[in-house]
């Protein structure tokens, strides 16, 4: 016989759960994860290479994991900085998922790593939906990509805790309209910081490292409007007291298990408006 079963499950509940667990575990080890998202070729590897070298010069223990569909080129470039680097080949998958990241960190991530930079697969669509347990989500866009990128990829830019413009050395040549870009970013993500960088002209290099270290030492990262959907249960007087990170895309998405009262005390993604015990321990 046919019957209708009320399932009420978040589709990404498994990833979100794994991301929460990873965030808590890494926080307890003193590691802050930075998730870098952009279109292919925006300059993630180029900027990261510089930030990693700088961290090494300053004696800050950092590591990087880079994900690509194919080739180890990015890992080879990043390894020139002298810090621990790992290449992940996603085997056709266009984004990283939290359980996958967890498996790759297992037995590799050196003890005492303060910052782990994760270069996601070059793609502005899919990675945006997957929380990796990061404490800071960074979305990059090069000046060649057009000012309307934030409007074309609202989920990616809307969930960013930091926006980085790259390749400003060629901004003039491509007539990059900085004001228009900033306005578009603010429209989908009011209040998010926008940094201008160029590895060629040495502009803004080191800012990413500074921002990441600040979050690692407890400075609250930006909380995007899009990352914090009002909780379904709010009008019942519960469901307050927690907010969700940018990757925690589906707010009400803990498995409901027909018990809506179980949400408190879970650690959610970064960008909290309120202290999160799991994240607060991050040094």
């Amino acid at each position: 016989m046919c019957r209708v079963v009320d399932l009420q499950q978040a589709v990404l509940a498994k990833n979100d759960g794994a991301a929460r667990a990873l965030r808590a575990e890494l926080a307890s080890r003193g590691t802050t994860v930075v998730n870098l998202l952009s279109s292919p070729g925006s300059g993630k590897t180029a900027l990261l290479e510089r930030e990693l070298s700088l961290a090494r010069e300053r004696g800050v223990p950092v590591a990087a994991l880079t994900a690509d569909l194919a080739t180890e080129n990015d890992a080879r470039r990043l390894a020139r900085s002298g810090v621990p680097v790992k290449q992940v080949l996603t085997d056709g998958l266009c984004h990283l998922e939290a359980p996958m990241l967890g498996r790759h960190l297992d037995g590799w991530l050196p003890e005492g790593t303060r910052l782990l930079f994760v270069e996601n697969v070059g793609n502005l669509v899919c990675p945006a939906s997957y929380d990796l347990g990061e404490a800071l989500r960074v979305v990059l866009a090069s000046v060649t990509e057009g000012e309307d990128k934030p409007l074309k990829y609202p989920t990616a830019f809307g969930l960013a805790q930091l926006v980085v413009v790259t390749k400003t050395d060629i901004a003039e040549a491509v007539e990059f309209d900085e004001a228009a870009f900033r306005a578009n970013v603010q429209r989908v993500n009011p209040g998010v910081e926008v940094l201008l960088t160029s590895v060629r002209a040495d502009q803004g290099v080191g800012l990413l490292l500074d921002r990441a270290l600040a979050v690692g030492s407890g400075t609250r990262a930006h909380a995007p409007v899009m990352a914090h959907q009002r909780h379904e249960g709010d009008h019942h007087g519960h469901g307050h007291g927690h907010e969700h990170g940018p990757g925690h895309t589906h707010d009400h998405d803990h498995d409901h298990d027909h018990d809506d009262h179980d949400h408190h005390g879970q650690d959610h993604g970064p960008g909290h408006g309120r202290p999160d015990p799991a994240v607060a321990q991050t040094r």
Partner: protein, 131 residues
Amino acid sequence: MHEMSIAMAVVGQVEEAARAGAASAVRRVELQVGELAGVVPDSLAFCFELACAGTVLEGAELVTRSVTASARCADCAGAWAVGMPPDLCCPVCGRATEVELLTGRELRILNVTWEDAPAADSCREPISEEA
């Protein structure tokens, strides 16, 4: 194309529930998809069909209920449909410090219609799910 990953996640979750509920075949899956969930319904439907092949969901129908994205400004108590691309600054006071997203990020399985395995025959009405 992450609609494939999403479709596979849906199928996986439904399979698990179907196994726990001793279902013999899944006929229909109803999904709630917010405007800002970052999922293209057509593409998802296409991937869903592929992901169902060879599973207990083979041939199941996917019904997507879209949810319009809306936000609210606590500063002036205004609420608006944010549109696409979304505008998350308050259209009334122009500020965004007290803006809260009300709807639009949903991506959830609402309900599933399945056939009970023959052993558990007869049409039991109560529909509540134990698993």
